[in-house]
């Protein structure tokens, strides 16, 4: 049981990271109006929202399986309070902060978007930093961080996220 929790904590963490990147990309494509003509913009927005929520769900599963893995040495305090882990303290701290950022982005949009658009935007933009922290967390504390396939996955995912960010920034400049 404990061993399976260990495997599941790794797999849910990886899937959560991929969902975060996918949600980020969909958001960038939508906000930079680079969605093409085949699908309507509301399709992109709908999937972006869904992927963001799904990423948070899988992050929750990741936390639950880490907690249920009695060998992980991570309890509820370590999950919610940064810098309380006995080892890999910084790596786990990045994950805790990233989780808070993602949760804030999701819950300021769902079930109803914040009326204060400016603050909603600040929270939403902070997910870029949250994604970077999630990458750092997976690279520093992941059991698979030394594996070539995982490093390649991180590079590809980071490349996709950077492409989306670049696209969004280029449209910002055009708007100016």
């Amino acid at each position: 049981m404990t061993q399976w929790m260990y495997y599941l904590s790794r797999s849910t963490g990886i899937v959560a990271l991929l969902l975060i990147v996918a949600s980020l990309l969909w958001g960038f494509l939508f906000s930079s109006r680079a969605t093409g003509k085949r699908l309507r913009p509301n399709w992109w927005l709908d999937l972006h929202n869904w992927l963001g929520g799904l990423a948070l769900v899988f992050t929750g599963l990741h936390l639950a399986t880490v907690w249920l893995n009695s060998d992980s040495g991570i309890g509820l305090v370590q999950i919610f309070v940064p810098q309380t882990a006995t080892f890999n303290a910084w790596a786990i701290t990045w994950g805790v902060i990233a989780t808070y950022v993602m949760a804030a982005a999701v819950f300021t949009t769902w079930p109803r978007r914040w009326k204060n658009r400016r603050w909603w935007r600040v929270v939403h933009v902070s997910t870029v930093a949250g994604t970077a922290l999630a990458f750092l967390h997976s690279y520093q504390s992941g059991s698979d961080a030394s594996q070539t396939w995982f490093q390649a996955l991180l590079v590809v995912a980071a490349g996709i996220a950077t492409y989306g960010l670049g696209l969004r920034l280029s449209t910002l400049r055009r708007a100016d």
Binding site: Y7, S11, L47, F58, V66, D71
Partner: protein
């Protein structure tokens, strides 16, 4: 407005014909079970009894035919993303389980007896499986070799057996197991563990006591992989298993 009644009648007739055309078109595009809507009251111009009894007027100009609003335009993609996420999670978990069972580790030094107060068969030092290097027995054995280790009398005092040194990508892992006179595993010490950087030391400081505790509780090398110390855990289990194999081959223990 005092207009000619003839003109007014003609206008009403035109309006009525137009309304009928629009109504017919709307009824083709709207399901018959559509819920009733609050339509605007007939305008003052449509005052003829014929028009008043006709179906309600269409929506304002510019509005298309009534269409059911799609709540989730990407609902199929949502389902696909959900299914893909769960399938990937399950697949990865199974892949991790499979690779954990066949983790690559190399035995760089075989297991061997270290010593006990009782003479132990020398043949025990060559009993470790998968050995690639010469025997690592550090304590001299005084009894003559025997080909039947099972018949060797177990020692009355604890016996120490070194496990094989197992190399992984971070360094070597080697344990030393102590067996009591009754064959139980009483202690496990880690002789060697990856320590090339501070993080490895930190991880081992956390993982090794847990592995020791698990091994003593389980009385076997079947220990769970410690999160964040995967390679150390695997090396630990393999090294301990080799020590147990040597001890069993010498009749020191019955555990497997």
């Amino acid at each position: 407005m005092d207009s000619d009644p003839l003109i007014r009648k003609q206008l009403d007739a035109e309006l009525a014909a137009r309304l009928q055309r629009v109504t017919a078109r709307t009824s083709r595009t709207t399901p018959p079970t559509a819920p009733p809507t609050n339509r605007p009251a007939p305008s003052a111009r449509t005052t003829s009894p014929r028009i008043a009894s006709s179906p309600p007027p269409p929506p304002p100009p510019g509005a298309g035919p009534a269409r059911k609003k799609r709540r989730h335009p990407a609902r199929h993609s949502r389902s696909a993303a959900l299914a893909l996420s769960f399938v990937t999670t399950t697949g990865l978990a199974y892949a991790f389980a499979a690779t954990n069972n066949s983790a690559s580790a190399t035995i760089t030094a075989p297991a061997g007896l270290v010593g006990s107060s009782q003479p132990v068969a020398a043949a025990a030092t060559t009993a470790a499986p998968n050995t690639t290097a010469p025997a690592a027995t550090t304590a001299p054995t005084t009894a003559p070799a025997t080909t039947a280790p099972a018949t060797t009398a177990p020692p009355a005092t604890p016996t120490v057996v070194n496990g094989a040194s197992v190399r992984n990508r971070y360094g070597n892992v080697q344990v030393q197991a102590t067996f009591a006179a009754d064959g139980t595993l009483t202690n496990v010490d880690v002789l060697e563990a990856p320590s090339r950087d501070g993080q490895s030391v930190q991880i081992n400081n956390y993982a090794v006591p847990r592995l020791n505790s698990e091994a003593l509780t389980a009385q076997s090398a079947n220990v769970n992989t410690i999160s964040g110390a995967t390679y150390t855990s695997i090396g630990y289990a393999q090294s301990l298993q080799s020590a147990i194999d040597v001890a069993r081959a010498n009749g020191l223990t019955a555990i497997s």
